[in-house]
């Protein structure tokens, strides 16, 4: 079983959900993102999701796009992402990478899988790669022992949910709403239904993302999902802060609040 699988099992045994915190690599700088992700781990985030910044992130809302633009303008390269993965994995927290597909194709799918595994990454979340197009990634992830997290959506038919989870390893990513990343004032009504549909087809842990930004929302989602995935709200801590130190302080505060939320599931 993968390191993430082990972490999910332990959380399940403890009667809580796992907190997955997402941050674009290289935002606000390579060193700054390592500091931010390390702070998140110290404040109680269980799994770090390192997003490779991309010029055309169609599944992301304005907050993550802005952070990605800052990272790219700072000159971050795909190879820097791997360095960040390695540094954050050294904290002991499982590190998963989220990426749009073109940067991986450009790097070379098998070469990237090899280098990600060597850096200590557990696998990839692929927002614009569906299993239908993923032959090369299926082979590379098998060859290098990496997890594959494909997304399921409220609009997915049962047949597609079944097909998608069959190709997942590690955990399944359920998108809570029809829309892009970004904190929302209400959590989704569609998410619990989607999670129970996924559970009809797999025993893999299910993480829920899109729109979660507060401890209370994390608690609600922890009531029905195995993992709570938070991105934009964490990124905003750094974007809105007057200084990097203030940003890190805000990031620690929110991470701790979310960590408390996933430990007190609303049932």
């Amino acid at each position: 079983m993968s390191r993430i699988g082990v972490a999910f099992d332990k959380a399940r045994a403890d009667g809580r959900a796992l907190l997955v915190g997402c941050m674009p690599a290289g935002f606000p700088s390579v060193e700054g993102s390592i500091a931010a992700m390390t702070a998140m781990v110290e404040a109680g985030v269980d799994v770090i999701e390192v997003e490779i910044p991309y010029s055309d992130p169609v599944m992301d809302g304005p907050v993550i796009q802005k952070a990605s633009d800052i990272a790219l303008a700072g000159g971050v390269r795909t190879a820097d992402t791997l360095r960040i993965v390695e540094a954050v994995a050294a904290t002991g927290a499982p590190v998963v990478t989220m990426t749009y597909w073109n940067p991986i194709e450009r790097y070379g799918v098998d070469v990237f899988a090899r280098d990600l595994a060597a850096a200590g990454g557990t696998g990839l979340i692929t927002p614009d790669l569906i299993p239908d197009e993923a032959d090369e990634w299926l082979a590379a992830s098998d060859a290098h022992g990496l997890d594959r997290t494909f997304l399921v959506s409220p609009s997915s038919t049962d047949a597609r949910v079944a097909m998608t989870v069959e190709h997942c390893r590690g955990f399944v990513y359920a998108t809570a709403v029809m829309g892009v990343t970004g904190a929302r004032s209400r959590t989704s009504d569609a998410a619990p239904t989607l999670v129970s549909r996924v559970r009809e087809f797999t025993d893999l842990p299910v993480g829920v993302g899109l729109g979660v930004g507060t401890g209370a929302q994390a608690s609600t989602v922890a009531g029905y999902a195995d993992g709570v995935i938070v991105g934009s709200a964490l990124v905003r801590c750094l974007l809105d802060a007057p200084s990097e130190a203030d940003g890190l302080a805000a990031l620690r505060t929110l991470s701790a609040e979310l960590a408390e939320g996933v430990r007190t599931p609303t049932r």
Partner: protein, 412 residues
Amino acid sequence: MSADALAPVAGPQPDSTGHFGRFGGRFVPEALVAALDELDGAWRTAIADESFRAEFGALLRDYAGTPSLLYEARRFSAKVGARVLLKREDLNHTGAHKVRNVLGQALLTKRMGKTRVIAETGAGQHGVATATAAALFDLECVVYMGEVDTERQALNVARMRMLGATVVPVTTGSRTLKDAMNEAMRDWVANVDETHYLIGTAAGPHPFPAMVRDFVRGIGDEARQQCLDLTGGLPDAVTACVGGGSNALGIFHAFVGDPDVRLYGFEAGGDGVTTSRHAASITGGSAGVLHGARTYVLQDADGQTLESHSISAGLDYPGVGPEHAWLHDSGRANYLPVTDDEAMAAFELLCRTEGIIPAIESAHALAGTVTLAPKLAAELGREPTIVVNLSGRGDKDVHTAGDYFGILDKER
């Protein structure tokens, strides 16, 4: 000539999951797959339905004004050294071939029971065409347009608003066409139940490339028959400009099965493909994934999309439809770059010899034809016949062209 623009014909088709060889496919969020499947199903049912085909044919004839003329441009021909036949898509309602695509997709939107269309636009031509069809079919219409482009093309913004559309300036990324497309995708993911994304070219995820191609392929069906009627034979070459590539596929498709007819697509070479300022995805880019399909893309060493440049806003896009990528790899069509300066020289030549102001996009096809004609004449040992897709009219470009030629009076 058949009024049935969608009657089955021979010609290249993607596989059942939308691949043209190694290109095409669907690189999209799972959230969109259901909508793409619904669209694919609706499209397949519609083209098999004679009443849909009749309705589309009637709209093309009575509303869009097609078949467009095939006009023998004698004075232009004399300058170029070839018998040049212009497919006058510039004479269609809204001034370009794009009306064929938007009418087809708007009809399909109605059939799917959706009430809202969204579109991306660069220069505003596709936005205007979409707003036109939305008005005709009583659909809500939202057009995403890069903020930079809304400033460059203020007149088209006004046009869309006059037609009842909401224009949303896009402030993310490079604030141009590719970012407008990202924003339209985001809207679609969030509102897919009642919304159809009316993509403006033969690009994007399956089924868009093949579907859009089929809606505009009447261009080539008409031109082929018109050329036979006029000259008694097929042309030696067919030329078109290529941005996303719908006008080129529209005219190529009917000729792909004619081995003696050479197909030429002319890309926007900007300042030259050896510079960083061009929009020639095939001749100056590499294979990658952008906006839902694998195709040729302008990208850096890490797969980040590069900004494109062209004097023609309609060709200013860092990708190209996947069928073109495949026609290029197979060698069936030839793709060559045309610089801004070459395009503008051909623009002026057509204005002065024929009294026709072409779209700057179409001027790229004319410029490529000017270069091609003597080579083809030498190869064939006679004057060649070349059909050029004059895909749009140049009214929208008068300001750009006036600037370029320095013929605008100073601000009064």
